[in-house]
Structures are given as C-alpha cells and as structure tokens.
C-alpha cells in the first residue's frame, strides 16, 4: 500500500493535547480525594523520595490516556491510505521527465538543431541508476519513451523527433509529466522543458496543479534573431464571370526580423497547378496583404494553396484552402391559387440575389408536392397557402427538409392550422388605424436574426405591417419574434431532423412595406438558410482540430497528407476525422478511389507564427502547487475504493472508545476498591 495521508492534517495540531494526560496524571494525586487513615505514624517513618512521588508511576494508565487522545486526533484528521506504490528500493536516485517542444515554431532552422543538442545534454547528464522519460509535445503531448534507466532509449526517442505543424500548449506537456511521475510513484522528479518559450503556448497554464516535489526547469532554445515570413490568412471569393466563375484571393503575410527591402514571391496554386504568382516587396517586420489576380475556376470544388518561397521556418510558408463548388439551394415556392404574381415578386427577387449559396426558386402548386418533387429540394415556402395533406411533405421535413409558411390574409380568413405548424392562425390583425404595426420583441440571438445583431435591429423596426395574421403559439413552439402588440410574428418548431417556421409578417408589399425595407433581403435569406439548416463549411481548418464526415457518408475513408488511409471510427452519427498534419484530407465513401466526397484543408494555427518569447518564469505563472494533485492524477477512483481507503477514522474512533473503557477500569483499580474488598478473617479459636 502507499503511505498514510490525512484529509484534514490541521487537526494533527491536536497532538499537542498529548501533554494533557501527562499533566493530568502527575497532578491527579494532589487533586484526588485523600484517603483518610487513622495515623501516618508508621508511614512517616518510611523514607519516600520526592522524585519518586513526582515521577510517572502508572505508565499503563498514562499510555491509555495518551492513546485515547492520539486516536481521537488521528480520527479527526481523517487518515487515508495511499494507493499502491513502488517499493522504496526501486526508487532511483534521480528521475527526469524531458519535455521536448516539437511545435511548428521549433522547426525554425536556427532552433531545432539546438533543441536536439539540449535534449541530448540532458540525457548525458544522467548518472547510473537515474531514470528518464521523453515526452514530445506541441498542442498535445506524446510519451515517446516512458521512464527508463536505459539512457540509450531516451537518446533514440530524441533522435526520432521531428517538428510538427501544430501549435504549442505547455499545459498538455506538464500534465503528461505529472501523470508520468504519479504513475511511477517516485518522490521528487525533475521536469526539463526544452522549448522556444513561445508566449502563445502559455494559454491554459493558470490553474494547473503540480505536486510540490515536481521541479520544473526550462531550457530555452531561442536564438537572438529568428527571421520569418508566414502566411497568416487569406480572403477567398468565387465571383461569377459569365458562365464560369473566377477565384479572387488576397493573402495576408506576417513578417519578422527579415532583412529590410527584400522581395518575396507568392504563388497561388489551384487544383495542384500554379495559377498565378506575384513578386512583392516585403517589409522587415509587420504584415502585408497580397491580392492575386482572378483565376478562372473550374466547375465544382477546387483545392488551392498560397505559398511563399521557403525560408528558415517552412512550416508556415503555405496556406491551403478548399473552394467549395458553386451550389444552389432549391426552394419550392407554393403560392395561393388566387395570389397575384406581384404578391410574390419581391419574395422571388430577394431569394434570387446572393451567392454561396444561391437559391433556385421553383414555383409549384400545392398538389404537386409529392416525394419526387421534394427530392433534392432544400426549402418549401408556402406563401399564404395552407399546408397540403399527405405524408410526403411530412416525411420530407422529418428527414431534414425546411418548411416556411408565410401566413397572409387568405390563411387568416381560413382560421385554421395544421399539425405540422408551430401555431394556429386565428384571424387577422388590422393595424391601419395606428399607421401599421412593427416588430417588437425579437430574439436577436437566433440564427435567423444574425445580420441584425450589431445595430441592425433598427432596420427591422423600420418595417410597417398594416395587416397580419393573428397566431396562437402551440405548446413546444418557439416564438422568435413578436409584433409590437405582442402577437407572434415568427414561430419555429423542430420536426424530426427538419424545421417548420410560421411567419405572420406579410412578405408582400400590399399588407405592409417590409419588402421595401433594407432588412427584407437579409431576413429572408437567413430565414431560408435556417430552414434548411445550412452551415457553410470553412475554407480551411487548423491542425489538431477534429472535423466530421457528413452523415451521408456511411463508410468514410480518409487519405491524409502523409499518404496514410484512415477509416474514422465512431457511432452511428458523424464520424470524427482527426487533422494532425497540415495539408489536404480527401474523404471517400467506401474506398479511396475516384473523386473524393469531401476535401478538408488543414493549416497550422496562425498563433504559432507569432514567435514572441516569454520569460522562463512565466512557464509556472499561475501553476498551483498542491498535494491534492497526487490524488487525481492516478485517474478516477471508484467511490467504494476511496471510501475504503478513508474509513480508517471509524476504526480509530472504535479503538479510542475501547481504550476509554479499559482506562476506566484501570483508573478505578486503586485504594478504595481494594479496601472495600477486605474479607473478615475467621475468628481465632485460641481457646476452646
């Protein structure tokens, strides 16, 4: 078993109370009721040394009382047994955990070789019997060599290290070191961190708990100058150009410690071919934006890379991204049979504006909404038209389709509803007399109103509605907006994987002026995107992130930038795709052949190109030194086990009670008890 610890060690101060039984024992006789005796004539004649009277004469009683106090104090201190520990004989004289930074910034030509030399010196400084563990870390920690006394293994682990394309997180490395030391159950250990002390890697250190016996020492490998040019980002646009489209890219380059007046060459590569190159003047420090001329884009998805001429830190000299294919979301517009074309004019025009994605509006009649028509549709918009019956629409919605019902005067006159709708239309509200109503309470946190969060709410409030449907929300419906009279203006309800939105605000220019307001276009576009659940995929992701293969891929296979094939494992939902390295990840369905179903781009985190150096003391800034880390670092423990190790206090209390009983018996075995037991002697029968 491990050592003995205490949950409340402050109670151990109560051990000072051990002096009480001694004092009580020594003073007890003087305070005790004296035994009356006829005469001390003979006792006085017997010499008794004072020291003999003062000294502790009843050791048994004293030990019993001291034992009771000690047991009570120990019980209140809540002792617990430590978990299994290695025998003392196995503890080496020195234990070192070497943390070698292999983040992207360490790949600088002036840094990595120095870092390897520093790590090798750490190994060389070990003596016979010393143990060392090697941990390579970036934003994650990898124990490449567990604690070993074979220093050659540690040297081999260092030799096999390579800089990665990931960021820096010191907290991950220190946690790994803490875990290694805890699992080895060694006492003091030294943690040596070979790093370039990148300040951006300090995030998350505050609050980290390290045991006090863990001595952390940083070995900085920072050259005086680290010239570097890095691609920090890019703005990417696909613009139409006749029947085709063009790619406009503006790259942002950050520069540091470079020689002044130098020039640099940036290239844009599309689908593996260099499409354009620009040579620009680069300042010594700072940032510069470089716009490439438009590049014709082929139909469909394209992969692109902006890259600089390689410098001392090549890992951040390129930026990869995926230009998604031009896509149009099909919107099936079903208008009331009596609706005039001008009633839906603004609606159709508004949906036709905008790209990425664009909307393709198809007018349909209510009776034509069968399964075939619904296949491939993103949104069904019922303009003042009742919800058609049949299971096709319902099933389509539950499979992820989006339904928008814009209630107008015709629906208001019908005063009815559908089980699909989040509310029931109960007539119309006339606001002509008060010059029209307006939007009142609006949930700006909702995705529909995203464009209006930053001061755009005023644009919404400018719309006036002379007549609108009165809707009563059903249970389970979410009211996203209300008119200024309190009536619901927009309601939502989830139905399976899809959504149903019921809009009371009129979308025509007869019942109000909303289509004429600037807020109309963004509102309608966001409304349609939300109905279909559209989420734009990012152009690139950061290394270390995890993307998810779409649900449509039943058996995805991922070809990584290193050429490896990985089959993501996961539950029946989305499959996680790890992105450990910078580059393109091709995701295939079934097997890695043909056109990939999905392409993901991963780039090093932008912060990793910030080479600002921190003070070595900042490495432990905010780190807490606590013994409690000993407990949690060995992993979760079953409550029964923990209780088992902490239930010693019960035994101690029971032992204290037993000792009290014995003490009471021993303390009363004195003069009075014996004297009362005097048995009269039988009468002497000297005469008979």
């Amino acid at each position: 078993m491990g050592g003995l610890g205490f949950l409340v060690p402050a109670f151990l101060a109560g051990l000072a109370a051990l002096a009480l039984p001694v004092l009580f024992h020594l003073r007890h006789r003087e305070r005790d009721r004296p035994h009356r005796f006829p005469s001390l004539m003979f006792l006085r004649r017997i010499p008794i040394r004072t020291a003999q009277r003062r000294r502790i004469t009843d050791w048994l009683l004293l030990l019993l009382r001291a034992g009771v106090v000690a047991l009570l104090v120990a019980a209140f201190a809540r002792p617990f047994l430590g978990r299994a520990a290695a025998p003392m004989s196995a503890v080496p004289s020195r234990t070192v955990v070497l943390l070698l930074d292999r983040s992207l910034s360490m790949g600088h030509a002036a840094v990595w070789a120095v870092a390897l030399d520093s790590a090798r010196r750490v190994v060389a400084s070990l003596g016979v019997g010393d143990r060392i563990a090697v941990v390579l870390f970036d934003d994650e920690a990898e124990v490449t060599q567990p604690l070993t006394g074979d220093h050659g293994l540690a040297a081999a682990a260092i030799a096999g290290a390579r800089p990665s394309t990931r960021g820096t997180r010191y907290v991950a490395a220190l946690r790994a070191a803490r875990r290694i030391v805890a699992e080895a159950s060694v006492g003091a250990a030294e943690v040596v961190v070979v790093t370039d002390l990148q300040r951006t890697g300090l995030e998350g250190l505050a609050g980290l708990e390290l045991p006090p016996e863990l001595n952390v020492r940083a070995v900085p490998v920072v050259p005086a100058r680290r010239p570097d040019a890095a691609l920090a980002g890019a703005e990417v646009q696909r613009v139409p150009d006749g029947d085709r489209s063009r790619l406009l890219v503006t790259a942002r380059v950050t520069l540091r410690d470079r020689p002044g007046g130098s020039r640099g060459r940036l290239s844009l590569m599309v689908n593996g071919r260099v499409a354009t190159t620009r040579e620009v003047a680069l300042p010594a420090d700072g940032a510069v934006s470089v716009a490439f001329e438009g590049v014709p884009l082929p139909q469909g998805r394209a992969t692109a890379t902006v890259f600089l001429e390689p410098d001392a830190l090549p890992g951040n000299d390129s930026l990869r991204f995926v230009v998604p294919a031009e896509e149009a979301l099909r919107v099936l517009l079903v208008a009331a049979a009596a609706a005039l074309p001008e009633e839906t004019l603004f609606l159709e025009r508004a949906l036709g504006i905008g790209r990425a994605p664009s909307f393709a509006v198809e007018r349909r009649s209510a009776g034509s909404l069968d399964a075939r028509a619904l296949r491939g549709a993103a949104v069904v918009l019922l303009f003042d038209s009742p919800v058609p019956g049949g299971a096709a629409l319902d099933g389509w919605i539950r499979d992820g389709g989006g339904l928008i019902v814009a209630a107008g005067r015709r629906l208001a006159s019908r005063s009815g509803g559908s089980a699909l709708l989040p509310g029931t239309v109960r007539g119309a509200v006339e606001r002509i007399n008060d010059r029209g109503g307006a939007f009142g309470e609006v949930s700006l946190d909702h995705p529909v109103f995203t464009p209006f969060r930053e001061g755009g709410a005023a644009a919404l409030g400018a719309a006036r509605f002379l007549r609108y449907a009165r809707i009563t929300a059903d249970s389970g419906a979410e009211i996203l907006a209300r008119f200024d009279d309190g009536n619901p203006a927009l309601l939502e309800r989830a139905a399976g994987a899809g959504r149903v939105l019921l809009l009371a605000a009129p979308l025509d220019a007869v019942s109000g002026d909303f289509p004429l307001q600037p807020a109309f276009l963004p509102f309608l576009r966001r409304l349609a995107l939300h109905a279909v659940g559209y989420e734009p995929s990012p152009l690139w992701r950061t290394t270390g992130e995890t993307a998810f293969a779409p649900r449509s891929l039943g058996n995805p296979v991922v070809a990584t930038p290193t050429g490896a094939l990985v089959r993501p494992a996961g539950d029946s939902g989305a499959r996680p795709v790890a992105l450990p390295d910078a580059g393109f990840y091709d995701v295939y369905e079934g097997r890695a052949a043909g056109e990939p179903a999905l392409v993901l781009a991963a780039n090093p985190p932008t912060a990793e190109s910030d080479l600002t150096v921190a003070d070595p003391r900042e490495l432990l800034l905010g780190v807490r030194r606590s013994d409690s880390t000993r407990v949690e670092r060995t992993g979760p423990e079953a409550p029964a086990d923990r209780e088992g190790r902490q239930r010693l206090w019960r035994l101690l209390l029971a032992a204290a009670g037993l000792l009290l009983v014995v003490e009471a018996f021993v303390a009363n075995r004195g003069w009075r008890a014996t004297a009362s037991d005097v048995v009269p002697a039988p009468p002497e029968r000297s005469l008979s």
């Binding site: 005790d32 035994h35 006829p38 005469s39 001390l40 006085r44 004469t57 004195g670 004297a675 005097v678």
Partner: protein, 298 residues
C-alpha cells in the same frame, strides 16, 4: 466449647442499636457456650490451711485447729473481691476508622459494653472513662452504674487527637482502691510511653488489660496505585503508593505490636491485640482469664 459466632460477630452486632441489648446478647451467648467448671466461684469458699507466719493477721488464725493441735494455722479462702473494673475507651479520631461493617470505635464500644455487662453480673463494680487528648467523660465504678455506662457509650463520639500516656496517668489517680483497668485503644503512641502510662496504673495496684484494636486495613495496608493518605487526627497528607510501602509498613506495625506486648508483659499487664473483623469472644476470654487471675488472693 466456644460460643456461637453469631452472637459475637461484629458485623451482626453492628445492627443492634441498643448497647444494653447488645451486651446482654454477647454475654449470654458467650456464657452459654462455656463449661460450668470454667466458671470460677466468686463467693467466700474455703481453700486450705497453712502454718502461721510472722506478719500474718492473727485474726485469721483458726482457733479450733489450734485447740486440737496446739499449732497455729491460718485459714485461706478464694477471694471475693467485688473488684472495681474501670474501662478506659480511646475516643480519638483515629478510632473512627473502619473499612468493614464497624469502625474501631464501634468495636471498642461493643467490647466495653459487653465486658461491663459481664463484670456487673459477676458482682464487680464497673466504671468508664472515655478519652482522646484528655479524659472526656468519667463514670466512677459502682454496682449501679452499668446503665449509665451504656448510656455514655451510646452517645460517645470519636474525635480529636489522642494522647494515651497522660490520660492513663490521670486515670490512675481517679481511684484510691486497686482494681482492674481495661484500656481499649489503637495505641498510636510510642510503646515506651504506653508502658509509662500503664506503669502508673500498675503502681497503684491496678490490674491492666490493654486491648489493642486495629482495622484490617491498618494491619495489611491494602491498595494499589498512587494515593494521598490523610492522617485522621492531624490532617497531615502524604502522597504515596501503598504497594511500594506495604512491606516496610508491615514490618513497622508488627514491630510496634511486638514491642507493646513485650513492654506491657514486663510490667505485668496483659496485651490483647484485636482487629475489628474478629469476633468478641477472644476479647471476652482474655478478660475472664485476667479476671480470674486477679481474683485469686493468697
């Protein structure tokens, strides 16, 4: 043959509040168990003739024998003394101690009452003197003072520091006639001083019986562990451990009793050690033996 122990057990006697009843029970029970032959006659019984010796009272010459033999013979009788028996009871605070059913003082009162009853019924005059540092109460010897003695014993309390020697010296001067003095005490005094006091009584012709009454705890010094002992008379306190001092204490106590026996025996006094757990018959026997010896006058 001995008396039934039930009549003489101090534990049982302690339940009898009336000293008169107690004494009568003790004596009757005691006498019931004796052989009749052991009852020594106390009347004027002729013993023998002997030749006249110069100095003999001529009134005691048997003239009838002279008429027949022309020789002077003197008649000798078993004496009928009607002796005065004075009981001296130690009433100091040290006597008020007992670890059993009776204290030493109670035991002494039982003893004195019983002996007084016995003496009264044998025709003696009985008196009482209680003392601690000095004489407390004195009942002169008389054939009619038995009830007074019992009453005095009944209300006597043990208190104060005791001084045996000067008290005995004063008691010796109370009566001009020689008699029997029965002293009941725990004798916490130097044996030489006790001998001095007893010697004063003997000098006036008294026969002396000293009953040395002790509690079993005084005899054995029981107890374990540290304790503080307090002197019953002086209040002095002494912290000690009985088990450590017991052996040396017993040596001192036994030496004290042996010295008392030796010194009093040398002066012709009787020394009878008693403990309160002993039946009273031992004391009664001792008293009667001494009484018989004292009554035989040659």
């Amino acid at each position: 043959m001995t008396a039934p122990a039930g009549f003489l057990d101090p534990a049982l006697l302690a339940r009898i509040g009336d000293l008169s009843l107690l004494a009568r029970n003790v004596v009757d029970g005691f006498m019931h168990g004796l052989h009749r032959s052991r009852r020594v006659g106390l009347s004027l019984d002729f013993a023998e003739h002997r030749s006249y010796q110069p100095g003999d009272d001529i009134r005691r010459i048997d003239w009838r024998v002279y008429g027949r033999t022309d020789r002077y013979y003197v008649k000798e009788y078993e004496a009928d003394t009607n002796a005065a028996v004075t009981f001296a009871l130690d009433a100091s605070a040290s006597m008020d101690f007992g670890t059993g059913p009776v204290t030493k003082f109670d035991y002494g009162r039982f003893l004195v009452a019983s002996l007084a009853w016995l003496s009264q019924h044998q025709g003696d005059r009985v008196g009482l003197a209680t003392f601690s540092g000095d004489l407390l109460e004195v009942v002169p010897p008389s054939t009619r003072h038995l009830r007074l003695i019992l009453h005095t014993l009944g209300r006597a309390k043990a208190a104060g520091a005791g001084r045996l020697t000067p008290v005995l010296e004063r008691a010796a001067r109370l009566s001009t006639r020689a008699g029997i003095v029965v002293v009941v005490s725990d004798c916490y005094e130097d044996p030489a001083q006790v001998q001095h006091g007893v010697g004063a009584l003997r000098a006036r012709g008294h026969d002396v019986i000293l009953f040395h009454v002790l509690d079993p705890a005084e005899r054995d010094l029981p107890g374990e562990g540290a304790a503080t002992f307090e002197d019953a008379e002086s209040g002095e306190r002494l912290p000690l451990r009985p088990e450590v001092l017991r052996e040396r204490y017993l040596v001192q106590m036994n030496a004290h009793r042996a010295e008392l026996s030796r010194r009093l025996g040398a002066d012709g006094a009787d020394y009878v050690p008693l403990t309160t757990d002993q039946p009273l018959d031992h004391a009664l026997y001792s008293y009667l033996e001494r009484r018989v010896a004292a009554s035989r006058v040659r």
